[in-house]
């Protein structure tokens, strides 16, 4: 816009706090750019090396190994590899972050300049001292910088002619080789086909229901439904207040932001532990081999974490207009919450809750497998008790239940869309 320099203050920028902050920010930004590229390059090369070693060790040495060389050699190799890759080609990190190494005025860099840059990289980028200057020292001395990638009108090179394309291809091949080697055990695969005939009885049993257990199974199904309902209800009670503390736009300031960060982090951790594992923990807690209560607690904990995330994301997307309008009438913070925010979120919250209830029905059958009660418990007992007819009956019931709830929750959610 062309405002006069130092419009707000007549002091030179390095004597003001804002000026210092800006200067530091620019340096940190430049350092971050180089660091991100280096991290991606070195990380990629490191993963490739580890996978190659792993596959080699598995197939040739018949052992498990991640690095066939001493760790320092590995580290040096990865760092030097990343430096070479970044200096002389369009490396993976540069490509992913949309940058390339080139002179400011747009010509391709010559090999000589690139060699000089490679040496300067070791002197200034690796120890990080180059970034004390603005622009960074190695950029000034080599004339090259990580500029945004320019894509001219020429056709892009095919993947097998680019270094990053070849790298990704190699990574994929080695990963698949290692994965196949480690996970597919040949005797098991042989059994899959050899025993296919023998499992015919098993399949036949699964689809010939035993109606005599219907009443008992129905009773367990009711338990499963109630588990899901109660876990969802209790989770809503906790998750609704927490969601306000986990919404980025509501939690500002020196107290709010840490609360937001901690809460979101904790919820993320809880969410990544499957309900089954939670069920095991709670079963130990209530000292029981089977307990629907432990199952409910497991579903409850996982639902809270999931709902807080869904709710908070919705809160972060609310329309700011009503908040502004209600603040402008002289209303307090609680009134703003009650009249500007809550009306906007009621329906989405109900919709998310129904969705979670749907998931909880499925999960309730699963936590039953470890002793969380309900229909899942019955199923696993039948399977391990080699009562395949009864197991098949229960499975059919589960399919019907899951279908029905799926349909019901989808229809109800349409109304609250």
């Amino acid at each position: 816009m062309g405002y006069p320099e130092g419009y707000l203050s007549e002091r030179p920028p390095w004597t003001t706090l804002a000026g210092i902050r800006n200067a530091l920010g620019r340096r940190a930004h430049a350092a971050g750019r180089y660091f991100a590229v280096f991290l991606l390059d070195a990380g990629g090369l490191g993963i490739l090396w580890i996978l190659v070693s792993y596959a080699y060790a598995w197939y040739v040495l018949h052992a498990t190994a991640y690095m066939l060389v001493p760790w320092w050699l590995f580290a040096v190799g990865v760092v030097e590899g990343a430096a070479l890759w970044g200096s002389f080609g369009l490396s993976l990190g540069q490509r992913l972050l949309g940058r390339e190494l080139g002179p400011a005025e747009g010509r391709e860099a010559s090999a000589r300049v690139r060699v000089r840059y490679f040496l300067l990289w070791h002197a200034f980028v690796l120890p990080g001292i180059g970034f004390l200057f603005d622009p960074p020292l190695h950029e000034r001395l080599s004339g090259l910088r990580l500029r945004p990638r320019r894509i001219e009108g020429t056709a892009p090179a095919p993947w097998y002619r680019t270094s990053s394309g070849l790298f990704v291809a190699a990574l994929l091949v080695v990963t698949c080789a290692a994965a196949v080697g480690v996970t597919i055990s040949w005797p098991a695969l042989a059994r899959l086909f050899r025993q296919a005939g023998e499992t015919a009885d098993f399949w036949r049993a699964l689809v010939s229901p035993d109606t005599s257990i219907l009443l008992d199974a129905g009773r367990d199904m009711i338990v499963t439904i109630f588990m899901a309902v109660l876990a969802t209800l209790f989770a809503v009670v906790v998750a609704v207040p927490l969601s306000f503390l986990a919404a980025r736009n509501l939690m500002t300031g020196p107290v709010g932001r840490p609360v937001y960060t901690i809460l979101r982090g904790a919820m993320s951790i809880i969410r990544s532990i499957e309900p089954i594992i939670w069920a095991i923990i709670f079963l130990v807690w209530v000292t029981a081999l089977r307990s629907a209560f432990a199952g409910v607690l497991a579903l409850w904990v996982h639902s809270i974490a999931d709902l807080v995330k869904l709710y908070a994301e919705r809160l972060e997307a609310i329309d700011q207009g009503p908040i502004e309008a209600i603040t402008a009438t002289g209303a307090g913070r609680l009134s703003v919450l009650r009249y500007a925010i809550i009306p906007q979120i009621v329906n989405p919250y109900i919709s998310f809750t129904l969705y979670r209830w749907d998931i909880n029905i499925r999960m309730a059958t699963v936590v039953g497998l470890v002793g969380g009660g309900g229909i899942g418990q019955r199923l696993i007992n039948y399977i391990w008790g080699v009562q395949y007819r009864q197991a098949g009956t229960v499975m059919i019931l589960i399919v019907i239940l899951v279908w029905a709830i799926d349909y019901l929750s989808a229809r109800l959610r349409e109304k609250f869309a």
Partner: protein, 426 residues
């Protein structure tokens, strides 16, 4: 409530609602009272049996009880429907209104209940003649979509019949659920010290065997470290996702109406494929795991991979074919117009449109598979779960803590990577 009732309102303004919706709302009302009856019986059973066990024993319904319960719930449903807005009527957004727009007196409502008993058993045919059944026509009322009066405030939900009933049902559910589940906070509190000790041990994780194999833990006479099994777990998810996506991709075109719906054979294939997706999807991965563990051997990673793969095929297949059905028809017509075959249509008009969302769904599925592969070992599917359940059974909580932390790290990292990739694709 808005969309559905508005559409009905405009289509049949001033006319009664369709018979099917009428039947639906009636069924809802009846089911409501049936549920109340179930809960009441459960509570009677629970408290009489446990408290006065010597007096009464268990409370079971005599043979005449069932017809009584059925008829009583029916009566309650009809009564609720005649007086005010019942839950079922609210669900379809309709209420009884006077044909001329006047008030409906209590006498008329009672008459309606009485007439209903004659009409429904004797004159059921009355439903199909005219827009209202006989008993409604005699009383002069009609079930019509609720039209909010812009001049008057609507009553608060909790001051209406359906609101009170909904609240009552909620409370009843909570009460009965509490008893069915056997919620017992005393146990939680009494056991809190022990649980606290376990948590404390888990939060001081033992990473001794992170890279060096644990000699105590062995699978088929071979020791593993946590890292070994973590890698195996990720590979399991990878294999299952790749295999599942590769199989679901071609299948999804057979499960798409706009690709298959041109001939009876096509429709049949469509129905079979979709049915397969739906049935196999509703059986959880872990249940598949228990089946395959029986088949190919307990504790083999192959069982886990197959379980994950089967569920992946069904889940991805459904998502994929919905995408295929959602493609814009323009490019399809263009390829048909130049004389392309069905395969060419799919290749040149459908696949380019659906590929981005296919990638997104596959990555999303990859997330789920990583989560599931961490616990599939429970039923004999292999992976890091083997270690988790082994240490848990040994009561070796510091090691359980270490494994759980590794699981969280894996899930987090894979979540992050797939989220990042999805963003780049979208």
């Amino acid at each position: 409530m808005n969309g559905g009732s508005a559409a009905v309102g405009s289509a049949s303004a001033g006319r009664g609602v369709a018979l099917s919706r009428r039947a639906l709302s009636f069924a809802l009302d009846w089911m409501t009272w049936g549920y109340v009856a179930y809960c009441v019986m459960y509570l009677l059973n629970y408290y009489w049996y446990t408290v006065h066990v010597d007096w009464w024993g268990t409370l079971t319904l005599p043979t005449w009880g069932w017809p009584v319960v059925i008829l009583a719930t029916l009566e309650l449903a009809v009564g609720c429907r005649s007086f005010g807005r019942s839950l079922g009527q609210r669900a379809i957004g309709a209420e009884f209104q006077d044909r001329e727009g006047g008030r409906i007196t209590i006498g008329r409502r009672l008459t309606r209940i009485l007439l209903w008993h004659i009409s429904v058993p004797l004159f059921a045919i009355g439903f199909w003649r005219g827009e209202d059944p006989w008993h409604d026509r005699v009383v002069g009322v009609s079930l019509r979509p609720i039209s909010p009066d812009p001049e008057r405030p609507g009553r608060r939900a909790l001051a209406t019949q359906w609101g009170i009933l909904a609240l009552f049902l909620g409370a009843l559910t909570l009460w009965v659920g509490w008893l069915i589940i056997g919620i017992n906070f005393q146990v939680l509190i009494r056991r809190a010290p022990q649980a606290g000790r376990i948590w404390g041990e888990m939060l001081r994780p033992d990473f001794r065997y992170f890279t060096t194999p644990d000699p105590v833990f062995s699978l088929r006479s071979q020791s593993y470290s946590i890292l070994d099994l973590a890698v195996v777990t990720v590979f399991m998810a990878l294999m299952a996702t790749i295999l599942g996506a590769a199989i679901a991709f071609p299948l999804s075109f057979f499960g798409a109406r706009n690709v298959m719906g041109f001939s009876p054979v096509g429709w049949a294939v469509y129905g079979i494929v979709r049915g397969f997706f739906n049935v196999f999807r509703s059986i959880e991965t872990i249940i598949w795991g228990s089946i395959f563990a029986v088949w190919v051997g307990y504790g083999t990673t192959l069982a886990g991979i197959l379980a994950l793969t089967v569920h992946t095929i069904a889940a991805l297949g459904k998502l994929y074919s919905e995408q295929v059905e959602g493609v814009s028809p323009g490019p399809l017509e263009a390829v048909w117009a130049v004389g392309g075959s069905r395969v060419q249509v799919v290749r040149h008009a459908v696949i380019p449109q659906v590929l981005p969302s296919f990638w997104a769904f596959t990555l999303y599925r990859w997330d789920i598979n990583v989560r599931m592969s961490t616990v599939i070992a429970l039923v004999g599917g292999g992976g890091i779960g083997d270690m988790l359940f082994y240490y848990k059974n040994q009561g070796d909580w510091p090691k359980v803590g270490a494994v759980v932390i590794v699981i969280v790290a894996i899930v987090w990292a894979m979540d992050y990577i797939s989220g990042w990739l999805r963003e780049r694709i979208a």
